[in-house]
Symmetry: C3
Subunit: 486 residues, 3 copies
Amino acid sequence: MTSPLRLDPDRLFPAEARTREIARTLYGSVATLPIVSPHGHTDPRWFAYDQPWDNAAELLLQPDHYLFRMLYSQGISLEALGIPAHNRPGRADPRAAWRLFADNQHLFRGTPSRLWLDHVFAEVFGFDVALGPDTADLYYDRIGDLLTTPRFRPRALYEQFRIELIATTEGAHDTLEHHEAIRASGWMGRVVTAYRPDAVIDPEHEDFRPALARFAELTGEDVGSWRGYLAAHLKRREAFIAMGATSSDHGHPTAATANLSASQAEALFAKVMHGTWTSADAELFRAQMLTEMARMSLDDRLVMQIHPGSVRNHNRWLHGAYGRDKGADIPGRTDYVHALKPLLDAFGNERDLSIILFTLDETSYARELAPLAGHYPCLKLGPAWWFHDSPEGMRRFRKMTTETAGFYNTVGFNDDTRAFLSIPARHDVARRVDCAFLGQLVAEGRMKDWEAEELIIDLSYNLVRKAYRLDEAPTRPVVPAKAVAA
Amino acid sequence: MTSPLRLDPDRLFPAEARTREIARTLYGSVATLPIVSPHGHTDPRWFAYDQPWDNAAELLLQPDHYLFRMLYSQGISLEALGIPAHNRPGRADPRAAWRLFADNQHLFRGTPSRLWLDHVFAEVFGFDVALGPDTADLYYDRIGDLLTTPRFRPRALYEQFRIELIATTEGAHDTLEHHEAIRASGWMGRVVTAYRPDAVIDPEHEDFRPALARFAELTGEDVGSWRGYLAAHLKRREAFIAMGATSSDHGHPTAATANLSASQAEALFAKVMHGTWTSADAELFRAQMLTEMARMSLDDRLVMQIHPGSVRNHNRWLHGAYGRDKGADIPGRTDYVHALKPLLDAFGNERDLSIILFTLDETSYARELAPLAGHYPCLKLGPAWWFHDSPEGMRRFRKMTTETAGFYNTVGFNDDTRAFLSIPARHDVARRVDCAFLGQLVAEGRMKDWEAEELIIDLSYNLVRKAYRLDEAPTRPVVPAKAVAA
Amino acid sequence: MTSPLRLDPDRLFPAEARTREIARTLYGSVATLPIVSPHGHTDPRWFAYDQPWDNAAELLLQPDHYLFRMLYSQGISLEALGIPAHNRPGRADPRAAWRLFADNQHLFRGTPSRLWLDHVFAEVFGFDVALGPDTADLYYDRIGDLLTTPRFRPRALYEQFRIELIATTEGAHDTLEHHEAIRASGWMGRVVTAYRPDAVIDPEHEDFRPALARFAELTGEDVGSWRGYLAAHLKRREAFIAMGATSSDHGHPTAATANLSASQAEALFAKVMHGTWTSADAELFRAQMLTEMARMSLDDRLVMQIHPGSVRNHNRWLHGAYGRDKGADIPGRTDYVHALKPLLDAFGNERDLSIILFTLDETSYARELAPLAGHYPCLKLGPAWWFHDSPEGMRRFRKMTTETAGFYNTVGFNDDTRAFLSIPARHDVARRVDCAFLGQLVAEGRMKDWEAEELIIDLSYNLVRKAYRLDEAPTRPVVPAKAVAA
């Protein structure tokens, strides 16, 4: 038994007729605007070498921890989904994994994954029947066939998706070779990197030592000295900027910042290097480094993104057996008002500094984040993140931040994904939710229609360009001149 | 002056016409489904001996702390409501108490108590005028009369309410004699117990010592030794299972768990037994016992329910004068992400373990509970609990858990009540709120109608049977064979 | 280019037609009810001396930290807005400041400031074009002209606004001379004070020492002794009551209370006086003083207001350069369940004590505040406060408190503002939001229409009079007899 797949053109708009009409009109003006994706986790190799993907399971299921964590929560093993444990390298048949996924579509009812998948299936692959037990093979085969065609190569999809810019995220110890390759290729797409130095900043990161070694190697600096370590950051930031970076990104367990004296910082760094640090020292070092990063941003203008509050690798056994990013990161309570004070005491009133704050703790929206962003010139609010990048999550974000921070202390949408094919779906959901939100404000006499018309363009396009300083890019050409000529 | 009492057949459905129509249709398919009540606090004596209740005040007002706490908050004494202090055994005239209640109906506007009461008054007792000063005596008299009739006896109401199963909750030191009596009676109703060992686990419980003594007596174990204490739990769990239990229940101040070594646990237990424990020791012992209970569940398959986060007996004077459960339990902030880690590190990936998490701290819904349940195979989310068992509370539960945990990591509804007559009302509210929620998803193009039709049956009936393992019951016959024959 | 300014008569009502109709009908019965403003920060000099305001910037922009903090957050300097730093007394041209404000109206989209401003512009000043770059001068000039006319003097506006009572807030060390002047003037307006002793209670307050000195001077008590210090409070409370006060107000960093023995309290006080206190001592002293204030309230019947949870002066540099109340107070997490216990253990069951609780931490609404107010006779819930005094904030307040605390443990609306001209706008927003909330309850069959009709009057008018004991006032005549005669 199959059921039809048809995207409701009014999806995510309020049911009430007048509000829906307003939302629909607003959406008409942004539905086809270019996608600007300033923060995400796509693989630069896709754009550098433009190789086809292999099959539906590899492309859509196995990299998407939103999907396999839900299946795992219902007792399905990761092996059966084609995600092998470290010590058991055998890989499940991808078709069998796909069928298991198809059999369990009901688990995704009411989740954003369902909205994104339906959009990908209908709009990208052209299906008109829903995925389910009876259509698993149909899906698997048709997707497999399409992936062999030129229009399903990464660069073709980039263009088809109307992407204007996409940022990937690389560690401070990354060579950026794939970004070099993209530039050298002469392809017109604008793929930029972002500076994510967590592995060389966090003594508790499992890759801290090897990452530091690579960091030293790539920079030629003595990263065992505080001065050399900071110089290495400066060099790598410069290298990232040369690969289009306009932002850094910091995923610490908390939002703690510190502003130690130079000698205190140096002493702390020495402890970290000698491996004599405690967990409190590690926290203090991460805290100090956020302030150091802010200081560097004042010079090189990288926008700082702070993504705190995730307890990474919460499932000890799973982490040991399968590694990171397996759907086992769980948010905890996160304080901002005290945590950010040292950094803000140092640089909070600098108009040339730009820090974008994210949270997994929605209780901070109205209580801390909106008041902070509605006051400090250097602060902006990133969009609803990760577990909250969903219709209800985005709606709570707007409802709990707008009245204090307004719209203009926000920065547009981040898709924040490694699921490349879902990018148009994600931006579409965000735009629709904003249209619905503005539609309600207009319908309730809280905003004029012409204001909403201006705002929806700002929320969908202008704010992200401004917040991520993308229009400062001309001084750092993304596409080599010859490519432009071609 | 009286006003009519008439239940709106569309109550709790959204006002918008199309959404309401969808909700109404969904409701049509679940309105008369049997009630499965896997967690509650009704008195097994009612079903064992089937004696009539005495009067309206004793049946409806005096056992319901939702009602008398609200009256107390407005300056009405508990004595006047017929709830005597320990040292003043005199009891108020029940009719006078009822009149006081009737005079203050306005206090319940906008509360779920009002929804439940109206349902009981209209549907169970057949009133068509509202309770108020002018109808207090009418109500009191008619209810009194009806309670003398056979169809208002407990078993008759059980049947009239279409209850398929109801669980009571007994302490580890309870004899279960009333459950024995129910079984011996040959009555067909399925009344089961649940294992609630708080009083023998929590050194800070006021009944800890006497409860332990009974626990020893009932099991014949040396509960002063760690080995004997654990053996006593095993024996009692077995006895509870014989009385139909499929779950245990744990109402600790926090969700803390621990996983001590055997020798550490034994040493801690010795402190607890010798009365040399600190408050931190008590917390650690409770934490350790959750892990012990999980370990036992792996063998005997009791589903664990964890109900943490209430500061019990917050009102010192009232607790001294009137005792427990007088509406003075106040929730506090509750952490899950760190608290549950020791237990989850031990057993989190066991597919045969089932733990149902509840919260009084709604901030944990989207931040901690949904991500935990959306990953760990052993975790499910209990429904909105206690203060949040209300239309807005249930709606927040769905809005804040569904996008990350989905619907299938939830377990249906718990009425969790000692107010037996309100059970149909409570299940009706839950079903209506779910119909409204699904109705909105369908109306906004976020779910297909056929998916909502399947889901509403699952949410109202199937999930609870599965989550509480009620269909494993055939191996543990509830009704003696001769009763079945009769 | 200009756009019209027209207030939607149905603003803030739900879009759905039937719900809107109910809300509109309810609003009709309260739209023109008198304004009772029991808590706010208007300047008593306005009413004492009835002098005209100077210009639009001075009246509407410079005292309103909601407005200038938003402009500051977008990089506009306070100097440019006419708010000078301490050490640079030069003041910007008020017209230039106003133009800057006019140019940035888009920043206020979706904020309550926009609702209030539009109401002031349209209803108070009669504008029919919106404020913007092209109308900045029109606004500035017309407002300037109107302010010179008699009907824009403070007392005339008080009457035009249908204010029945307004409370200002004065420190314990205030002379109350302006309140004396109001009474001596024979004017009929009822302007009362409220007792706000923070500066003489909080050792960490920047004015603690000078405030204490004034406190001693005004009372003639030896405020260096515990006994004298308490006696001074009693005297000043009496003086405030003579100036119409029916409430005290306490803005501590937390809601902590304590109940020390007399000797402990005296020893703590000695530390505070000798300047040998730690930050923990300061917290404990503030905590103890809340309990002392409650004890005094039992005698003199002042209603206590507790406004905790703001981290004042979060921006260190700005505080140093510009001083307090510059939009840099940021809320933090606030506990009530443990914090209030010592005070409640002492006086929680006193029916003659009335404590109104406020919060900036909305997570406490459903979790702690509603359960506390729904049980303790002495507790009531203040309305949505500060950052949450907004349509969404008020709506969250009702949704998260009503089901547990009901409506009758709340106290009506506080405008809490120094922006005098916005007072009618603020009460209007509150009434409309309540009409919308009740309208939804009625439309969804959760409340009868006649109940909503009673309730909206209670929420808009009766509850505030009762909660603030305004009807006990006849024993303390506000208006001298001769004035009444006149």
